[in-house]
Amino acid sequence: MTDVTTDSEVANGASGARGAKPGGRATSIPLMGHDEEPTIFELSSPGRRAWSFRTQDLPEWSAEELVPADQLAPAPVVLAEVSERDLVAHYTRLSHRQYAVDLGAYPLGSCTMKYNPKVCDEAASLPGLADVHPAAPAHLTQGWLELLVALGEGLCEVTGMHDITLQPPAGAAGELTGLLLMRAWHEAQGRQRTKVIIPDSAHGTNPASVTLGGYETVTVKSDERGCVSLAALQEVLDEDVAGIMLTNPNTLGLFEEEIAEIAAAVHEVGGLLYYDGANLNAILGVTRPGDMGFDIVHMNLHKTFAVPHGGGGPGAGPVAVSPRLAPYLPGPKPVRGADGVYGWAQPERSIGRVHGWHGNALALARAYAYLIANGGDGLRSIAEAAVLNANWIRHALRGSYDIPFDRPCMHECVVSATTLKKTKGVKALDVAKRLLEEGFHSPTVYFPLIVDEALMIEPTETESPQTVAALAEALVRIADGASPADAEAPRVNAVRRVDEARAARQLVPTFDARQEATPSPSPSPPSGAEQGAEELKAVGSI
């Protein structure tokens, strides 16, 4: 390396990680110890490149000839400059610092982290699906349209609904779509409704979606059995209620046994029932939201239909509806014509688009592959094994953890570390971190909010009895050996317990902000980041 400082070297300055050197030299070997992995910027060497483009044989107009002078940036944006080899090595090393379903059990309650069959990955990578332009005319995309229509019909059958939109790209997007459908329907009836009822055990996306849908959230308390109290519900039901959002089984993993009565009561005041499909995995082929009386149902295909979660997405959140809401669905929507030819159609009173194109299509293709691979018979066996695994673990944890609602659960069970905290000073969070040391991902912690020190465990159907037993044994071992030292956990993972408070207090959202925050050998701030760095200083600690 020379001492000549280029823009790139400044922006990609090499302070920080142990052993990080420009040019791809990283001493961090993930299989050996705790070394940090430098950022891609620290591995950069000016002038190095991985890119390669097709020979175009076009006139070689320069940037100055192609762009009006007042529009042309004086210098290119500085990015990392690495070889393909360094690029691959860096992101492969990073992947070694990442837990995933393909490594082992991931009992993150409410997230349904089941195994994602590889055949579905293959479906999503077929050029005949992946390389199709979304604006291509329908006669060029008959296969896609057929797939989407068939998936929609299958999902309607599974949920007992009449019609569906596949556009919402995630569960929360589906919720908001459903609430806008609710709003459109009420308005068409000439009603001004203002409130949507949500149980206190609901996911946070529910109340957030309600607000964005222009409604006011009314929270209804759960009863001592962990379910919606019909009496409490009756108290808040009136002519201002647009509807209720329910997850069934609920976030405690319990089936709302009075669902038929709840549906009748809500319908009685002219309200609609919204089914949050987060927990649909529990009831596949066993019962259907449509049969329970729901009017609007969203599904999380990344949960129930095994679309891989991608580190946080992409997912897909189709919304299925009863006949009276079908005319309001987002469009354009894939349809099969009388002649067997597929096309796009706009529902008569559509609320409009909820996505820039047609939704997360490749995620939908994965879900379709999963649907036909399992079939009606396979879907039911999913629910059976998921529910059996959850109940088995509930039994296995008795005596080691508090079980606030110790009755037959569905696909997940919620236990509590309240007694552990009281007697041994070990919180749910410590249990979660200890479990990481045992080689498992942790359950969801501190949710649902109505359970203190909650640990929400969802083994899913794809974990074998042996794995479920090993998970339970680890949790029991943690409870048995609980001591204040558990606050030190985890000790054997890529990093020790992470200081979340510091991250929020001293915000470092980019590498450039770090360069500014830590004294750098270079006097000038990195290009492209001046503004941010100055503001960070001005704001100080946020």
């Binding site: 490594l103 296969g143 996306t205 038929a260 009831i283 020790r496």
Partner: protein
Amino acid sequence: MGHYVPHTEPELAEMLAFVGLSSLDELFDTIPEALRLAAGPRPRAGGAERHLDLADGLSEPDTRHELARLAGRNAACGPDLVCFAGGGAYDHEIPTAVTSVAFRSEYVTAYTPYQPEVAQGVLQALFEYQTMVSRITGLAVANASLYDGATACVEAANLVVAAKRRPTIWLSQGLNPRWRETMSTFAVGTGHELVTVDLVDGRTAWPDAAGSGEPAALFVAQPNYLGGLEDVAEARRVADAHGALLVVAFDPVAAGLLHTPGSLGADVVVGEGQPLGTPLSLGGPYLGLFATTLELVRRLPGRLVGETVDAEGTRAYVTTLRTREQDIRRERASSNVCTNQTLIAVVAALQMAWLGTTGLRELAVRCARATRHTRETILAIEGVEPLADVATLREFAVRLPVEPATVIDRMAEEGFLAGIALEEEYGERGLLVAATERRTRAEIDAYAAALEKVVR
């Protein structure tokens, strides 16, 4: 049991015994009988029991065969259908290394990094992604992704209305019409007033006043939907005159040549990240790019990764400013985003690392060259006229002498996806044409020759 359920019959029996049950059906005893479907195979006809009306599961080879059959009924972009369509979905090079590494199991089958100690891989990749997006937008903070360009606009609308406490937004007509439609859909819930500001000669003609009050923000696309280069600095001046924020919908490829929106005064930058390594995919999953100034960070929608240290002082990453988010703030949250597009963000990070400083500019230059050659060649065809007299970069609009839908159909027979038929609001018989770095002189000349034949 289904293909992916590992339990054997004896294991099921043993587990049932452990929980005190004798059959799988009893697991569902808490579900009222009237609501239950029957187990077992479907009856051949009209039994009293209700079953799912779905075919039985397929073997893996049969599943693969069925998907291949469906894929075979599509005309994919490639040598047999050379792509000149854009409109927010572009046919760019996707290097093998990017796909190969981004689709490692560890990235594909993890979830939101709720336990940072075992999620440093995804967290650091997102931190690097945020840094790259920050640099190409010229703003201090970028989030860890939203669903797509359209929904990024929706979130930007919610942000600016909350920040300025004004319900009105001015949208340039040059903003993708499908994105504007998506914003209208969600504005019904939030009560925002969206005012469309027309393009004149291919550029936004900002008015002195519009709508019922001062705007919270102006939204301008750079380049705009017709491919025209907007005067973002002028939009900033207009925004200032109204005390409004400026939101720029930018194209990450054009960022290889143009001033960053942040350097021209944008408060929020949104964009469609599909050009950064994601295939056309019938329109999804794509990637919503979203960046803001540091002043607005507390209103940032979605996840944000920050750097911190672990208990031993080792550098570590974690999702931060979590109190903005729906799972904590619930009905007071300004966004309901939970699952986002993390994997696509990781892909984009890899793609930007593959491009690097020189590659991003080279990509933009090559797209601009292909676009210019296409434009010059087809404008030489009699009856094909520019839709507006405006500088373009990677896409442009023309007026055809015949209906664009017909032209697109006939061009497909010639082996070309000719472009996108423009909405009527942009004038009659408009066609939007894009040529990326993948287009060669031979392809472009053949395209022009076919178009000349088709519009004759």
